[in-house]
Amino acid sequence: MKPKTKLSCRNVWKLYGANAAAVLQKDPNPSGADIRSAGVIGAVRNANIDIAEGEIFIIMGLSGSGKSTLVRCLSRLIEPTAGEILFDGADLLRASESELIEIRRHKMGMVFQHFALLPHLTVLQNVMFPLTIQAAPKAAAEAKARDVVELVGLKGREDYYPRELSGGQQQRVGIARSLVTEPDLWFLDEPFSALDPLIRREMQDEFLRLQARLHKTIVFITHDFEEAVRLADRIAIMKDGEVIQVATPEELLMNPATDYVAEFTRHIPRSKVLTVGGVMTAGAAGEGEPILQSMRVSEVAERIISAEAPLAVANDAGDIIGAIDRKAVAHVLFGGGEPA
């Protein structure tokens, strides 16, 4: 069963500049050179993405590659110059102002890189804010807000002001605030980039824990490939406004669409991305307790290396589908080239 598509964009363009619309009118598919010679900036160029319900979809790319612009087009914080954005099958760009307000109040949440907390409100009031502006009943809103505050682990700090919290705590508030309306679609624009590495890891774990409970559809932006690999179901890689590849982390490593993508993935410890299923020898026979094919190589590397013979690999149903040996693992761990 294929999960249904929650959000998709079709041929979305965002050009900045005086005569941006005219450029696209003249040629609906201008090249980079055309755009430059017209004196406009191509922040997003012809983006086509489908995001399935319940998946963590990560958009990644270097600074200035257009990630923020794309995600702001998806949430219509920025009007795209051209294209179509389908949210639950309806074109978001056709929504009236009041419809858009309704959608944002109930179906979308967003987390920001620098938290964007309101400095004059306490933690609880910040989290309650989206409910307050909907004129929701106060007691219910407060109870709901307290729940989410607890969910993100900030119980006891409800009456603090943002400036009294550490960066990680502030982002927890941002996360709680974006969840308080129980949105289906959750945008996160580099939510952990402003945090130091240790806290960042902790927050990533927290994020995975939350998602395991909530099953939101997530659009997550990062410029950190390691972060993307840890969290993503699928990754879209952007360069100069273009989406150059959309794939699972493993596919990105195994079949990079361009040299640029390959360069991007080069420094990633492959064992942490590749699964046993991806590097096993299919159909071969192995011994011992079978390893699940969805395990990451790094998680079972020791066992395989210390074993004398190839080990059996099983799929989720428990059937043996192949085997994996030391050589394959060594290749993943130390080799630079194609896996065996």
Binding site: R72, S75, L77, I101, E102, I103, R104, R105, H106, M108, G109, M110, F112, Q113, H114, F115, A116, L118, P119, H120, L121, T122, F129, P130, I133, Q134, D159, Y160, Y161, R163, F187
Partner: protein
């Protein structure tokens, strides 16, 4: 080291020298040539702008109407709107609530007791910061009571308490509107620019004409004067809100109104409070000028004392204004800070959270009740007030008796070697030559547009028959600005280079800036009596601050790399200053001088009190005679001078920046 001048520089130098020579010998020359019209604009050529303006204003008041709404109807409505809260505040603080009029008047409720008011400001001080502030503002208000300034001070406070909310609130609304509608912003920003260059008294006379002599006129003038910075700061503060916060607000599904009032404005509240503080300071600055068109209170006391040359009384009232200004300024700053950092409060009952309010309300009620039996509770007993008037008068007398010669010598020296030569030259320059030179200067500094502006505006001054008065204005301001620059720029440079001196200089400048402008006038009049020299000193003191500030900032912000480059090439400290720091800081210094010019011009109507013969005096006379045409014409002439100076200096600063590659 010889330096050959380029032909262009030679021309400029020659023109300057020629102008000075022309000015110096202008009168004699004109007499010899039998062409007095060259130095004295012939009255037959004067275009009667004054009469036209008077007639136009008369029409406005009597006949102008759009449909059923007449112009006077509008002004009356505005006046009524302002008057209601003002009367209430005045009754509460100063006059008491009275029913009936004249001799039939019956006091329903006396004004709030001085004890209650002082307690209220102490509580406010404690609420805003701590006991230290509470003690300071308490002492300020106690001073007002003990030194017999209470009643006037409360009248002034009442007008401040009305003008500030209207100015700040109105400024906020206009700023919000400008933020929302770029078109509106493009409309207001040149107006704001203009209002910054036009001295206040340029619009005193029309206001007087529209609203009549009285506190309402004074409030209107004050509000018009104090609002523009608030508009500007609001626009800037809203634009400076983190775009992520804006995005968040929209993603949370706010309506436009919610986005503005629940997200943007609260997020910008810290900067907005800076604007409110500005409004307060400008309002206090206006106190004495406003009393020229009908504000009572301390400003009126100073004005009356200056007119009578009653030094002691003037000084007392002047100090009272300073004391009031300090109290209000510190309170508002502390309040702004507090707004920025809201403290956590344990949830308690309403009375517990508002215990200060409850306390003050109780105190007010008690003093009102018991005041029937003991008037001491309501008014500070007159027999216990301390008067310093006699002391000041005696001091001045003593100084004048014993040191008269010294003061006189200083005065005569400045007058005969500095001021009078400038005056003679300026008045001697033939007006056609002056207009031509200004136009040329405009062209040189900023191209044909600026040339046109300079030419037309100076020609308008000439044909309105105000040339001589305008030249006296230029002379007075020019001399003051030269002096302020000579003192201020070195002070600024010193402040930038030496941190200990910097701290002292900063303190001095801060103090000078908190004091309302005219306060400078009083001690100077005491020592030097009325006349141009007194005006000069008062203007210099008032206008010094920006010269110092900008120079210090300019020198400080010279890039470190340049300094290091200088050091590496073996510059001594003086060489470093002369060849690197000063030239690089020149654009900033010029902007500082520009501000100094603007402040000097805005001081003119006040120095008119000491008998200057310039456009300020013209406005002052027009005010006392309620002669609209005369006042507006003189006001416009001052505005023209301000605009010409502003544009020329700005163009010069831009030129300097461009030359140094600081700006394209």
């Amino acid at each position: 080291m010889t330096r050959s001048l380029s032909s262009r520089q030679l021309t400029v130098l020659a023109l300057v020298l020629l102008t000075i020579a022309l000015g110096y010998f202008g009168r004699d020359l004109a007499k010899a040539m039998d062409a007095r019209w060259l130095v004295k604009f012939p009255s037959a050529w004067v275009i009667p702008f004054k009469t036209w303006i008077s007639a136009a204003m008369g029409w406005l008041i009597e006949d102008a109407a759009i449909g059923a709404v007449s112009f006077t109807g509008v002004t009356r409505a505005v006046a009524w709107l302002i008057e209601q809260p003002y009367d209430l505040m005045l009754a509460l603080l100063a006059t008491g609530f009275v029913s009936g009029q004249g001799s039939a008047a019956q006091v329903l409720l006396p004004a709030a007791s001085w004890i209650a008011v002082t307690a209220a400001v102490i509580a406010l001080g404690h609420y805003c910061r701590d006991w230290g502030l509470a003690a300071l503002v308490g002492a300020c208000f106690a001073y007002l009571a003990v030194f017999g300034q209470w009643d006037s001070a409360m009248v002034t406070l009442a007008s401040v308490l009305i003008a500030v909310p209207i100015g700040a609130g109105g400024g906020l609304l206009l700023g919000v509107l400008a933020y929302r509608h770029p078109l509106f912003e493009r409309l207001v920003s040149p107006i704001l620019d203009l209002m910054q260059t036009i001295p206040i008294f340029a619009y005193l006379v029309p206001i007087l004409f529209m609203f009549g002599f009285g506190p309402v006129s004074a409030l209107v003038a004050t509000i018009i004067y104090a609002t523009p910075p608030m508009v500007r700061i609001t626009i800037m503060a809203l634009k400076a809100v983190d775009p992520e916060i804006l995005d968040f607000g929209r993603m949370a599904g706010t309506t436009r109104r919610q986005l503005m009032w629940r997200v943007l404005v609260p997020s910008a509240s810290h900067s907005l409070m800076v604007g409110v503080n500005q409004v307060i300071m400008l309002t206090l600055n206006m106190v004495i000028i406003a009393s020229m068109i009908g504000a009572g209170g301390l400003g009126f006391d100073v004005l009356a004392a200056l007119r009578r040359l009653d030094i002691g009384a003037g000084f007392e009232a002047g100090i009272a204004i300073v004391v009031l200004a300090i109290a209000v300024d510190r309170l508002s700053q502390a309040f702004a800070e507090r707004m920025g950092q809201v403290r956590r409060q344990a949830p308690r009952s309403w009375a517990a959270r508002h215990k200060r309010t409850v306390l003050i309300a109780a105190l007010l009620a008690v003093t009102w009740l018991l005041g029937r039996f003991s008037p001491l509770l309501l008014d500070y007993p007159e027999s216990q007030t301390i008067t310093t008037g006699a002391f000041w008068s005696d001091t001045v007398q003593y100084l004048n008796v014993n040191y008269f010669d010294y003061f006189e010598a200083v005065k005569v020296f400045f007058l005969s070697w500095f001021m009078l030569p400038i005056k003679k030259v300026l008045l001697g320059i033939p007006w056609p030559w002056a207009i031509a030179m200004l136009t040329l200067l405009g062209w040189h500094a900023g191209g044909w547009r600026l040339a046109l502006l300079c030419g037309v505006m100076s020609a308008l001054i000439a044909v309105s028959g105000l040339w001589a008065k305008a030249m006296v204005t230029v002379y007075l301001c020019g001399a003051s600005v030269i002096l302020a620059t000579l003192i201020g720029v070195p002070l600024g440079v010193l402040a930038a280079l030496n941190s200990r001196a910097g701290a002292a200089i900063n303190l001095l400048i801060d103090t000078l800036q908190t004091l309302p402008s005219f306060v400078y006038l009083i001690p100077v009049v005491m020592l030097f009596r009325v006349g141009d020299f007194t005006a000069l000193i008062a203007i210099v003191l008032y206008a010094l601050a920006p010269a110092v500030r900008y120079a210090a900032h300019g020198v400080r912000s010279v890039s470190n790399e340049l300094i290091e480059a200088g050091l590496v090439s073996g510059c001594t400290r003086t060489q470093l200053l002369r060849h690197i720091r000063l030239p690089m800081a020149l654009p900033e210094i010029l902007l500082g001088i520009n501000q100094t010019i603007m402040l000097a011009l805005s001081m003119l109507v006040i120095t008119a009190l000491v008998g200057t013969r310039d456009l300020g005096q013209e406005v002052y006379i027009a005010l006392t005679k309620a002669d609209t045409g005369r006042g507006l014409a003189a006001g416009l002439a001052i505005a023209f001078i301000a605009i010409i100076a502003d544009r020329l200096v700005n163009a010069g600063a831009r030129g300097a920046r461009a030359r140094f590659g600081l700006e394209s």
